[in-house]
Amino acid sequence: MASQDIIARSATTTPSPSVRIQDEVAKLIDTTKCIGCKACQVACSEWNELRDEVGFNLGTYTNPQDLSAETWTLMRFTEHETDAGNLEWLIRKDGCMHCAEPGCLAACPSPGAIIKLANGIVDFNQDHCIGCGYCITGCPFNIPRISQKDHKAYKCTLCSDRVEYGLEPACVKTCPTGAIVFGTKEDMKEHAAERIVDLKSRGFEHAGLYDPAGVGGTHVMYVLHHADEPSLYAGLPNAPAISPLVGLWKGVSKPLGLLAMGLAVVAGFFHYVRIGPQVVEEGEDPPGKDPAVHEIDPSVHTYDPRREDRP
């Protein structure tokens, strides 16, 4: 793995090896060119040697019904009726977005189970995965899945094992219409800009690039006909960001919590050093004396002459 730099590593508070400079890569998925052939789904399972269980056809082209530990990418089909009464078949290839600020990585408690490479790929290392599912809690896109076979989390790797050797991801290689392209993030943005100009000239006035800033941008981007309303595309989040609940859970509160626990122990120690234990000396109050006889029963009435608030 030494040929790819790691710029972020889960549950690790010191820098990871990251001196090499690498271009950020991106996969651009042009939903306007997609014909829904699912070749990318097949290529993904072939390259990654995944064989999901054959499910059922529930009357939609989306098949299987959802991402799983064996389905890392999935064409989601939406039938959208426009205001003019036309039907649009919106097809989106769903999968990991490879966020610049990955919620999964922020949430993961196991050192090195999730890493972010210098080229932008967010990769799971199942060997270090403990199966807690915190990555699912952290992800703004609902992508990671825990396998019921080995209780490890899985998702799209952006074919990090191909990209490492200069190959494009399997889905990109197989796409027959050129709807999926791969390159440096800058090149992909340029390419998208050209596509958007073309789409706008053909009447898709809201065409645009989906590269959400809420997660620092992504290394999988979409060209959408309706970039003003990404949620049309099978619930693609309009403004994805790491949930504030996750931010609070995994952010500054944990080091502060740890500090508070440590301080409590230290405070106890110094209380003992400065004030010392309360020892009942034998004979301090001889047990032969009947306490009830000599004083007022305080459960009924208390009077203390040393009260601070006395006039």
């Binding site: 508070a260 626990m261 040393r306």
Partner: protein, 217 residues
């Protein structure tokens, strides 16, 4: 009147307490392993990360059930009484080992009572949020927002619980005689009178049937 010691905790109560304590340490250490990266090494105590993830929820459930045993035995003694308010006002003196003006208390002082109810609240929050985030069995029944809230509250309740137990353990070290009360059950009469005078009178009352507690003294 004798120098006989007083039984503060029965063998059953002591066993129950220490079982909860053992389970607390197991659940807390495994929970802390997942709480912050600096403590992930604690997962080695349980056979590694996956085993920590597998075992932690079971430890928590067993701890909760055993803790219920303590609640059933001690909840009545943890009702607040009038003196508790004054005791809390004077807690500064208690901390400085200055006993003057600190009102006598029952079997538990107000600090112990607050601890008791806080522990119970934490245990309930930990149980219910813990079920929500228990991936292997229950998380599938809950939406992502519920799971995120549960994660946050679980960490918060765990944090408060650990703080409470740090205070609880230190109080045992500080107040000499209280650890032995929980280890072999007995306390001396001067100890009982000094720290829990109303309880002391209650348990020794039947030794002086001819001299009931009177207001006149």
């Amino acid at each position: 009147m004798s120098n006989k010691t007083i039984l503060r905790y029965t063998a059953g109560q002591r066993t129950n307490h220490w079982l909860v304590a053992i389970l607390f340490f197991m659940a807390a250490l495994s929970g802390l392993a997942l709480f912050h990266p600096a403590l992930f090494w604690l997962s080695n105590l349980f056979g590694g990360g996956p085993w920590t993830r597998i075992l932690h929820p079971f430890m928590g459930v067993v701890m909760f059930v055993l803790f219920l045993g303590l609640v059933l035995q001690f909840w009545r003694a943890n009702y607040f009484i009038t003196n508790d308010r004054l005791w809390l006002k004077r807690v500064g003196r208690v901390i400085k080992n200055e006993e003057e003006g600190v009102p006598p208390v029952g079997k538990y002082n107000a600090g112990q009572k607050l601890l008791f109810w806080t522990l119970l609240a934490c245990m309930l929050v930990l149980l219910f949020t813990g079920l929500v985030i228990w991936r292997a069995y229950f998380s599938a029944f809950f939406g992502i927002t519920s799971i995120r809230w549960a994660m946050l509250l679980h960490a918060l309740a765990g944090f408060v619980l650990v703080l409470c137990i740090i205070v609880h353990i230190y109080a045992g070290i500080w107040i000499r005689g209280s650890v032995s009360a929980m280890v072999h059950g007995w306390v001396s009469r001067p100890w009982a009178k000094k720290h829990h005078e109303l309880w002391y009178r209650e348990v020794t009352r039947d030794e002086h049937p001819d001299r009931p507690i009177s207001k006149k003294g």
